[in-house]
């Protein structure tokens, strides 16, 4: 088992290298470079000397493969470099201050989605074509089809402007420092409510559909038939025998959505003015802040690879057949 995991891990390294090489090249191919953007594109003040200075400062005057080599060498020492943005702060520090918010937001969102999607999926599968099934189908597809930003604006108008119940944007009220501890938490939750609602509504469709599909397949299996034949009560048949098996594919999907927890949602973060990873990435792209873009990319792609691995490994724990298959494969 351990050997299998190690082998997978080793195989992931060249893959990661390939990903970084391709992204590095592609990013540098995009027109516009930080030195130009920072010295005022199309401005009378634009100063060739300053542009050249910045180019040298950022090594942009060197050939691409040299730049990549330098970047890679730094990465080997786990140094993600310094941002090209004029504040010149270390990339890890920038990511570090944005990550907690995005992580918190996405974990809460993911928990809510799973907590809602599993029962919805199970119920609509066991009562296929019932009114409940039809209503939830319409509802989740509505969520899937509604543009995030539009829903966000509608909710902001309703709860923020008309009713005045919830704050519209940001993470904290301006008087946050002067609130008591519990009021602070309450205030923070209030700010998170709308973004979470919007993100959950949009993400519910996928999971609940997977759950429904997986459950539909399982309940048609013979062993469910035999469980019923044994005279087990329906809740036990569904809750114990069927659900456990139906959850298997969900584990994989959950694992694969792990990197998404870090990436952050650009639209939700921008519209709610949440200083998270999505906003950082967008700004980095606009500024052609290569170190930040690459740092973010490395983290997300590493996580994707790890998540893949973790999903496979947990899968083999949950499903003995795969474990056996892997062993046989090695022989």
């Amino acid at each position: 088992m351990l050997g299998y995991a190690l082998r997978r891990l080793l195989l992931a390294l060249p893959l990661l290298l390939g990903i970084t090489f391709v992204s590095f090249t592609v990013i540098h191919l995009a027109p516009g470079e930080p030195a130009e953007i920072q010295t005022g594109d199309l401005s009378i003040q634009s100063d060739a000397q300053a542009r050249q200075l910045l180019r040298e400062m950022y090594d942009l005057d060197k050939p691409l493969h040299v730049q990549y080599g330098k970047w890679l060498a730094r990465l080997g020492r786990l140094d993600f470099g310094k941002s090209f943005s004029p504040d010149g702060r270390p990339v890890l520090q920038k990511i570090g201050e944005r990550l907690p918010v995005t992580l918190l937001l996405n974990i809460i969102e993911m928990l809510i989605i799973v907590a809602l999607a599993v029962p919805i999926g199970v119920l609509s599968a066991t009562r296929q074509y019932s009114l409940f099934d039809k209503v939830t189908t319409v509802f989740v597809f509505l969520g899937f089809a509604t543009p995030d930003f539009w829903l966000a604006l509608l909710l902001m108008i309703l709860f923020g402007v008309q009713l005045g119940w919830l704050p519209i944007s940001g993470l904290r009220s301006l008087n946050w420092e002067y609130l008591s501890f519990w009021r602070q938490q309450w205030d923070f939750l209030g700010h998170l409510a709308l973004p979470i609602l919007v993100a959950t509504f949009g993400g519910l469709a996928g999971f609940s559909r997977y759950m429904r599909q997986s459950m539909l397949e399982v309940v048609r299996q013979d062993y469910i038939q035999s469980a019923r034949a044994k005279g087990l009560a329906e809740p036990i048949v569904i809750g114990k025998h069927a659900l456990r098996n139906a959850l298997l594919p969900i584990v994989t999907i959950l694992g694969l959505s792990l990197p998404g927890l870090i990436g952050g949602s650009v639209i939700v973060e921008s519209i709610f003015a949440i200083p998270g990873m999505g906003q950082l990435m967008v700004q980095a792209v606009f500024e052609r802040d290569y170190p930040v873009i690459m740092g973010n990319l490395v983290i997300v792609s590493t996580l994707t690879l790890v998540a893949n691995l973790v999903a496979d490994v947990t899968y083999s724990f949950v499903d003995p057949r795969i474990r056996v298959g892997a062993r046989r494969g090695r022989r």
Partner: protein, 549 residues
């Protein structure tokens, strides 16, 4: 600023208090009531769409950093409401007769935010920072003309120029930097890495830095030791909100106190009583114009009559009404109406299709039987009109231009291209036939970089490749005098020639449309916008909303 000027300014506020709101006058403004007296306190919450990129604006280039920086730092000179240069850290100045010597007398009562006195040594240091080849600044150009800067005594500064330089005086509006804090970083070429670029910048401005939460907010507090007196509003919070739509909703929910509106929001979405009670709306022409530019290397556009014909065929009023809902002014040249260099009596091109057709016929272009404009060889007049993505306004302008020229039989295809590649692949390489673009104009009328024939190279700004020896000479003259009356003549003539030549068709100056919470008093819109007297804004005691801080 002298006491007299201050008093005069208050007198103007009184006189213009009602008229000042640009037709949006609000009866709530009542200067007579004693409770409306200037008071200290309250917080003003502003919205920024972008994160600031640092706290030393001299080495930055984004507008958010400038807005914040302009409250923290000050220059030797600044601009008053009519854009005249007035003293800020400098009490007075004098040019020598030949315009080569400029002597500043500095105020003696100025202290840095860390309580160190501000002296001429700091000015010399700022100059040295700006010309240091290791300083990554975009504002070096202004200081290249300087031969030497010398501190005669702690409060007297003498600047010598290599040759007369028109922007000499105004270039000293550059934000002054503290020598005692930043010297080692400048010497090592690491000014951007200085801790003062990330927190606790030391300036001489009206506000001091309190905190910066990246992506979230920047907080400034009033500087009690400010040399023009402590500003009335005690705290300014800049909230970073990337989405314009969100800012607008925050405005409605009173989550921010001021914001710039779009024409649509200004005209259609804020005209209800509750909004008008909560906010005062202002409008003044922004310092930027939109134009239709031609590649003058294209023989068709090189013919002046063709450009003049197009100018007659495009109804600027229609564009302003259609695209800006009327909130803009027709442009006749590259200067903003109401500024000293603006020449109001130049040739104009009223909407006149017959005249347009006549001019085109003169140039050899006539409509054929199919209604297509063709030359003698039967080639149709068709061109591609480029503009950049992400600017809906320009796209709409392009559509109106397309429709107008279609009436003449000209086939216009519009192409919208992403900004970075638009610049790199099309503008800089001159690979365009016509463009819709805008110019932001500086405070000085010198536009050498845009119109001089020596500036048509790939990385230079005369994109349209305009060459006119007379304009060249006038541009050179205009930037070589330190006297406004002399310069004015050059620029007046340049505007006449540009109006005649129509190297580009000047379309309009859009109006800036800020709104500010109606509890704030002391705002007087002017050609210089509304922010120039920010330290004099106040909220009467009984209207103050925030007490903390």
């Amino acid at each position: 600023m002298t006491r007299g000027a201050l008093l005069a300014r208050f007198a103007l506020i009184l006189a213009l208090g009602l008229a000042g709101c640009g037709g949006e006058a609000d009866s709530a403004v009542d200067h007579a009531s004693p409770s409306e007296k200037p008071a200290y306190g309250d917080t003003l919450i502003e919205a920024l769409t972008g994160n600031i990129s640092g706290l030393i604006p001299n080495v930055l280039s984004d507008s958010a950093s400038f807005e914040v920086g302009s409250l923290i730092y000050s220059g030797l000179v600044t601009r008053d409401r009519d854009l005249n240069v007035i003293g800020e850290l400098a009490e007075s100045w004098r040019f020598s007769k030949d315009c080569l010597d400029l002597t500043f007398h500095l105020r003696r009562d100025v202290r840095w935010h860390d309580d160190t006195p501000f002296t001429a040594a700091d000015v010399v240091f700022t100059y040295e920072t700006m010309i240091n080849p290791k300083t990554p600044t975009a504002y070096r150009e202004d200081f290249r003309a300087v031969a030497s800067v010398e501190a005669v005594d702690p409060y007297t500064l003498r600047v010598r120029y290599k040759q007369p330089y028109a922007k000499a005086l105004q270039s000293w509006g550059i934000w002054m930097l503290p020598k005692h804090v930043l010297e080692p970083y400048v010497r090592e070429g690491r000014l951007r890495e200085a801790p003062q670029n990330r927190a606790n910048p030391v300036g001489t401005g009206a506000y001091r830095f309190k905190e910066w939460k990246p992506g979230e907010k920047v907080v400034l507090v009033a500087n009690p030791g400010y040399f023009e007196g402590q500003p009335h509003i005690s705290r300014v919070v800049y909230r970073i909100i990337p989405s314009q739509a969100t800012i607008f909703l925050e405005l409605k929910a009173k989550g921010v106190d001021s914001a710039g509106l779009t024409a649509l929001q200004f005209k259609r979405q804020t005209e209800y009583p509750a909004f008008r009670k909560a906010y005062h709306k202002y409008e003044y022409p922004a310092s930027a114009y939109t134009y239709l530019g031609f590649n003058l290397r294209d023989p068709r556009f090189a013919d002046r009559r063709v450009r003049q014909a197009f100018a007659h065929a495009i109804d600027k009023r229609e564009i302003i009404d259609g695209v800006l809902l009327g909130l803009g002014r027709e442009a006749t040249g590259p200067y903003k109406p109401g500024t000293w260099a603006y020449n109001p009596s130049v040739k104009t091109y009223p909407y006149d299709m017959d005249k347009a057709r006549a001019l085109l016929a003169e140039a050899g272009w006539t409509k054929n039987a199919d209604g297509v404009l063709v030359n003698r060889h039967g080639q149709p007049f068709a061109f591609e009109l480029l503009t950049n993505q992400g600017n809906d306004e320009r796209k709409k302008v392009a559509e109106i231009v397309q429709a107008s020229l279609k009436e003449l039989g000209v086939q216009v295809d519009i192409r919208v291209i992403e900004w970075a590649s638009f610049l790199k692949e099309y503008i800089k390489k001159r690979r365009f036939e016509a463009i819709i673009l805008g110019w932001g104009i500086g405070l000085d009328p010198d536009q050498y970089e845009i119109w001089h024939s020596s500036k048509t190279g790939p990385d230079e700004l005369n994109h349209v490749s305009y060459t006119n020896p007379e304009v060249d000479a006038l541009l050179e003259q205009g930037r070589q005098s330190c006297r406004e009356e002399e310069r004015k003549k050059s620029y007046a003539r340049i505007q006449e020639i540009l109006a005649e030549d129509q190297p580009i068709i000047f379309l309009y100056f859009r109006d800036a449309l800020p709104v500010v919470s109606s509890r704030v008093r002391g705002i007087v819109p002017s050609p210089n916008g509304i922010l120039y007297n920010f330290n004099k804004w106040y909220v009467p005691k009984h209207l103050q909303r925030y007490t903390a801080g």
